[in-house]
């Protein structure tokens, strides 16, 4: 029977596929002893072998899709599967105490994970998850029920889950063409990942997902948030036709994407790509990005067990700069805090982390961390056209402080005769309402500004973007947010510096005309959105865009 549900359209696009219900299965067994020792040991060894093979496949898929450093976690899993204190201990309990392999596996895994989860050190505590993860996989293999792997699904799968963690979405293969979750909002990590992968997503569908069964045919509309389960034949063929039309549109947009985008009255709008790691550069180039408008450097920190060294950072920055010779590459300095934690950073527990010690505030309070990154950036600057962007700036004095830190790093390098470019541009991300309101003064101190609409929206409307209870209040097209965008653009124009936008709003082709009307000269977005936004820009006439923007500003 056809059923309709509606959630939050979090990544645009249409898809038709087969439902795959994704559940984290926690198997649990009872204590049990065995009589046939040799067949039990054989069962155990076969399960270890199967587990290793699965982890190796996951490792390779992750390395291919996300890069070597993302795949490193699976090396730890493989090491555990050879560890004499872990696997050896299980084997000994089977051998000497005649324990069943499943019970030995479950109890040793439980003992180790509770040892680690009670440690003081955050990094060690996080290892408890790895132990449980690999132990649970081994247990499932012993039971002859190998776990469902996101990386090993049949083509045209649509994932149905309660929620998806970043480590789960990291395993997504090309077989997954859409995602549906019960929880989450438009700005959840899963949503950002879906947009990066270019697959449609509907999140926050609530209990409706319980009506979906494995193998159901699903129509997913990532723009409207509509989900149709087991659609009637007629509807199915209509949607199929629509999808093929859209594919043609995207293909033709891509053909024209190599050309710079001008409005019909010859106003140039630069279209750049947001990236999260050097792996994303390929996609940015393939979609004809005119540079990088936002390189989030957090990946370097989030995937490491310790602070990334100056050398590690330098090589990532250099790689991206070299991929875009003579085009701007805007690299944002570390933005942690808020909802992003580093296990080794020992961030204080805060009542209100989004209003706490995050991003540049953390960096200014931890000059060693900050200066390591600044030195890496300065050293990389000779390999391209580097623009450094500081997040969460709210006042002129913060700009002066970061410029002072940058100056000190330049002095250090000069003393050591290490070269850096003298063409580096310094800018800020406008995401605190104060920065937009005070933009005229801030603009006098910087070379560019870029508006981060995700945070600007949540701070302006006081609506937590991760909280589905208030997600309906989170609206980047709210006239108050657009007014702050306009104020920022106007201040940039008065100061003669570029006004950019790198938040999610910039990649929404249905908003391009209003954004151009508000005065933006540069839009930066997920690479996949570039061709259609460029196409949209070519249809725009500045005068009409301005009046459309005016209308949006006065919407009630």
């Amino acid at each position: 029977m056809e059923q309709n549900g509606k959630g939050i359209g979090a990544a645009t696009g249409l898809a038709i596929g087969t439902a795959v219900i994704w559940k984290k299965e926690e198997v649990s067994v009872q204590e049990r002893s065995i009589t046939d020792l040799s067949s039990e040991l054989q069962r155990f060894k076969q399960a270890i072998q199967a587990t290793k093979e699965q982890v190796q496949i996951l490792r390779k898929q992750t390395a291919d899709r996300m890069g070597e450093s993302e795949a490193a976690i699976f090396d730890a899993h493989l090491a555990f599967l050879d560890d004499p204190g872990f696997i050896g201990e299980m084997e000994q309990r089977i051998n000497t105490q005649k324990q069943a392999a499943d019970w030995a596996c479950q109890s040793v895994t439980g003992e180790f994970s509770s040892l680690f989860s009670n440690m003081e050190d955050e990094y060690m505590r996080a290892r408890a998850d790895d132990i449980r993860d690999v132990g649970n996989r081994l247990l499932q293999n012993i039971m002859g029920k190998p776990p469902l792997d996101l990386g090993l699904l049949k083509p045209e799968s649509i994932i149905i889950a309660d929620e998806l963690t970043p480590s789960e979405t990291a395993q997504f293969s090309e077989a997954i063409i859409g995602m549906i979750t019960a929880r989450g909002s438009k700005t959840a990590h899963a949503a950002i990942m879906a947009r990066t992968l270019g697959i449609p997503a509907v999140l926050g569908l609530g209990s409706f997902i319980q009506q979906i069964n494995d193998g159901d045919t699903i129509i997913l509309d990532g723009s409207s948030g509509e989900v149709i389960v087991n659609p009637k034949e007629l509807l199915l063929s209509q949607i199929q036709e629509k999808i093929s039309k859209q594919n043609q549109l995207q293909a033709s947009a891509l053909q024209e994407a190599a050309e710079d985008a001008y409005t019909s009255d010859r106003k140039r709008i630069q279209v750049l790509a947001n990236i999260g790691s050097p792996q994303d550069v390929q996609d940015a180039l393939a979609n004809h990005a005119e540079g990088i408008g936002l390189f989030r450097t957090e990946f370097l920190y989030l995937e490491n067990a310790n602070w990334p060294t100056e050398e590690e950072q330098f090589s990532s920055y250099k790689q991206v700069l070299e991929a875009f010779p003579s085009k701007p590459v805007i690299i944002r300095t570390l933005d942690i805090g808020g909802d992003k934690h580093l296990p080794y950073a020992e961030l204080p527990k805060e009542e209100n982390p989004f209003l706490g010690l995050r991003a540049v505030r953390y960096c200014l309070a931890n000059p060693d961390v900050f200066k390591t990154q600044l030195r890496a950036l300065l050293r990389a600057s000779v390999h391209g056209s580097l623009w450094i962007m500081f997040p969460m700036i709210g006042s002129v004095s913060e700009i002066l402080q970061v410029k002072q830190a940058l100056e000190e790093c330049k002095q250090e390098l000069a003393t050591k005769k290490i070269p850096y470019s003298d063409q580096i541009k310094v800018g800020i991300m406008v995401e605190i309402p104060a920065a937009a309101i005070h933009a005229d003064e801030l603009a006098k101190e910087v070379d560019f500004m870029s508006i981060g609409t995700n945070d600007l929206t949540q701070y302006t409307l006081a609506a937590d973007r991760g909280n589905e209870q208030v997600a309906h209040l989170y609206d980047p097209t709210h006239p108050a947010v657009l007014k702050l965008v306009k104020m920022t653009c106007a201040a940039c124009h008065r100061a003669g510096i570029p006004a950019g936008m790198c938040g999610e709003l910039a990649g929404d082709a249905s908003m391009t005309e209003i954004l151009v009307g508000l005065g933006l000269n540069e839009l930066s977005m997920s690479a996949k959105a570039i061709p259609q936004v460029k196409q949209q820009i070519r249809k725009i006439a500045s005068a009409e865009a301005s009046s459309l923007a005016l209308e949006a500003l006065h919407k009630r």
């Binding site: 090491a79 555990f80 560890d83 004499p84 204190g85 872990f86 050896g88 180790f112 040892l115 680690f116 440690m119 003081e120 050190d121 990094y123 060690m124 290892r127 132990i131 067990a305």
Partner: protein, 86 residues
């Protein structure tokens, strides 16, 4: 069986990286090697075992080796634990 008590010099203790180096060293010997801290014993050739002891800087632990190269094993382990710094 040979046994020796040593004090960890590395100020941050035996966290992931030094623990990995230690088990590599232990793995190069034929003898069975154990590390004992506060009555809890772990296989020195097991990364999870060594890490699970949560050994901190300046703590004292006992190394126990049994096998044909036990003397050399104790010598090498002691040297590593008393000199490694990072």
């Amino acid at each position: 069986m040979t046994e020796k008590t040593v004090v960890i010099q590395n100020s941050t203790g035996l966290h992931a990286r030094p623990a990995a180096l230690l088990i590599q060293k232990a793995g190069s010997f034929k003898s069975s090697i154990k590390i004992v801290k506060d009555g809890r014993e772990a296989d020195a050739k097991s990364l999870l075992g060594v890490m699970s002891l949560a050994i901190k800087g300046n703590e004292s632990i006992t190394i126990r080796a049994e096998g044909e190269d036990e003397a050399a094993a104790i010598e090498a382990m002691t040297q590593f634990l008393e000199s490694h710094q990072e």
